[in-house]
Symmetry: C2
Subunit: 381 residues, 2 copies
């Protein structure tokens, strides 16, 4: 078991009817004016916007708004929001939306104090200071509401990558799962796959980690169970709440993060696919890549091969890793998700491998070069 | 799933060779002089004292020492330490030891600002301010190193009870599991039972809590697994580390605490036994009481009876709750622990029931009065 430091200062306020607490949280922190960042406008339809702005007004918090964050959020929107933050002299950032909105808001909060925000994503600058960040989560998937990382796409450079820093933990996050009961099935399933993928990025690096492996098996089984039930009962509050909490736990460092810093090769491969095929949703791509990664890396006989076998047995009731992978794919099919690149009409495997390999070697369980990536893409074909 | 707020600001530094970081943690917080609180002196034998004091000196942190905290820590020691803190003009408290030392230190940190520290334990005063608290954990069991609660015994009043408050979270905790490799088996087993009991106090209140139930099942299974292995290999670092991490997770609010505020009847019954038989170790008493509580409450047909059954199935591979209880008792016997009060020579069931009932009704899954408590003690006889 490796050494780790766990220090997650985010205050998570979870449950029905909690959104109206946001103004009080900001006020109690001694702050006066927020830059509210949001997506395409769905929060105006589901009542979240009214709850948030009502709470801000009630608590005397002034605010200005930046709209239009898109899925796979982009640098130009970050830069636009930093300009607005400076012009409007805000003293904090309030993200109201899903992971894309929160990641954008983190980049704004940290970028506010940098000459060039993209430097933080290219490791040319360190995020040491940030505007206080608050979030109201409306779509559970990425776990960004309770961690310190952000992923942004630079469309000019065709790079999707991440930054982080302990000043980027949200000060307070409000997570009211009842606003998620109206989500369409595809977003629900993608969120579940995203959370499962986060957990697996850590899980498969495990070796002498009985506690974290066992806790994460519990978490993966719960995600599968409640997602199955949500397919039947999408409006059930308790199911939404359990999936939401599992997504947060999936990347808040407490369970998965204690095993290692993670493998992340599957995520990098998926980012490469998105670079060529922007339309591929994050969860969709991960669902296709991960089984191929598991197959390829397990067959290469890693030193912790027994962890792959216990994953198959414990999470998928299978007797072998191949059977575990098959059961996972069957679950994806049941969830109406594709399990191959060809189903999405993606055939440019060489081009995608080039894009990925251009960023260097990847992975922790097995270090992957361009040939390995191509082989994994072939398995995912 | 009920609403909850999770906000645990403790910085946990976990792993081999981490103790020498304690001075830096205190220095970085801008503090100058610590009141070090410790137990009977084992930290002088295992090298922990030298590591801690060396680190304090290296970082220019002055310190004064209070020794002699006993298991089931007592109020008079708390009062002695508060006096020392005032006389020596310290600006923080440093606990070096197990749960008893940390609980004492929390009472000192909060009591420093109260007219009468015991008022906080009788709900006559609220702990709103506290000296900054740092801990170096040497015995994993209670989880006190990463939560905000403390249990102290008032020997004059014959009351063992708790207080808490968000200012009582340790600022930083150092947990180096390698100092636990020399622990005797009985303390190891008692720690494991203590952690299992904390988890069960929350688990059995669950109902619509798939995620937390499943995560906690993973945690309980891990504790049983690594404790079994520690019985064979008590000096194995990884096993110690996994048990230590599980004990911390067992009561830091992240998994168990999201289900409810817990039942705590078994703990209250155990406290009553200790009031009459001071010599009963915490883990020993809980191991005897909890199976009896499970049997009694399950047979009363609680609304969440299915959770009892899934506990038996998932944690103990049993087909019924009775079989689950039997398997748990077999495990305790394998761990060389008693499973009945009579094995400890305890026969004063009426007297114990009186002591417990004097504090009022108890429990959340089923509210227990004096007759219920007597019936549970009969089952534990």
């Amino acid at each position: 078991m490796h050494n780790f430091t766990f220090h997650n200062p985010t205050k998570l306020i979870f449950g029905k009817g909690t959104i109206t607490q946001i103004g009080k949280e900001i006020k109690q922190a001694g702050l006066k004016k927020a830059l509210m960042i949001a997506g395409g406008g769905s929060i105006k339809k589901n009542g979240v916007y009214d709850q948030v702005t009502g709470s801000l007004k009630k608590n005397g918090i002034a605010f200005t708004e930046v709209w239009g964050v898109q899925p796979n959020p982009i640098l130009t929107k970050v830069e636009e929001a930093i300009e607005a933050a400076k012009k409007e002299k805000v003293d904090c950032v309030l993200a109201v939306g899903g992971g894309s909105v929160i990641d954008t808001s983190k980049a704004v909060a940290g970028g506010y104090y940098l000459d060039n925000v993209w430097d933080a994503f290219e490791n040319k600058a360190t995020v040491k200071k940030a505007l206080p960040l608050f979030t109201v989560l409306t779509l559970s998937a990425t776990g960004s509401e309770m961690n310190s990382g952000a992923v942004i796409t630079n469309t000019a450079k065709k790079i999707k990558t991440h930054t982080g820093g302990k000043v980027l933990y949200p000060w307070s996050t409000i997570l009211d799962p009842s606003v998620q009961t109206s989500l369409p099935w595809e977003q629900t399933a993608n969120g579940a796959i995203d959370a499962l993928s986060h957990i697996m990025e850590f899980y498969f690096t495990g070796e002498h980690d009985e506690t974290s492996l066992s806790v994460n098996e519990g978490l993966m089984k719960a995600i599968i169970e409640v997602t199955d039930e949500l397919q039947e009962n999408p409006k059930d509050y308790d199911l939404r709440a359990n999936l939401a909490w599992a997504c947060t736990l999936g990347l808040n460092g407490i369970s998965a993060g204690t095993i290692s810093y993670g493998d992340w090769a599957s995520h990098m491969i998926k980012h490469g696919i998105s670079a060529v095929h922007e339309e591929v949703a994050h969860g969709t791509g991960l669902g296709i890549v991960f089984p191929a990664w598991i197959k390829y890396v397990y067959d290469s006989k890693p030193s912790n091969a027994e962890v792959f076998l216990r994953w198959a047995k414990t999470v998928w009731n299978a007797d072998s890793v191949d059977e575990g992978i098959q059961n996972m794919k069957s679950k994806l099919i049941q969830w109406k998700k594709p399990t191959s690149l060809s189903e999405l009409g993606i055939a440019e495997l060489d081009e995608i491998a080039d894009v990925i390999a251009a960023r260097g070697e990847l992975g922790a369980v097995k270090t992957l070069d361009k040939n390995d990536v191509k082989a994994i893409l072939e398995l995912a074909k």
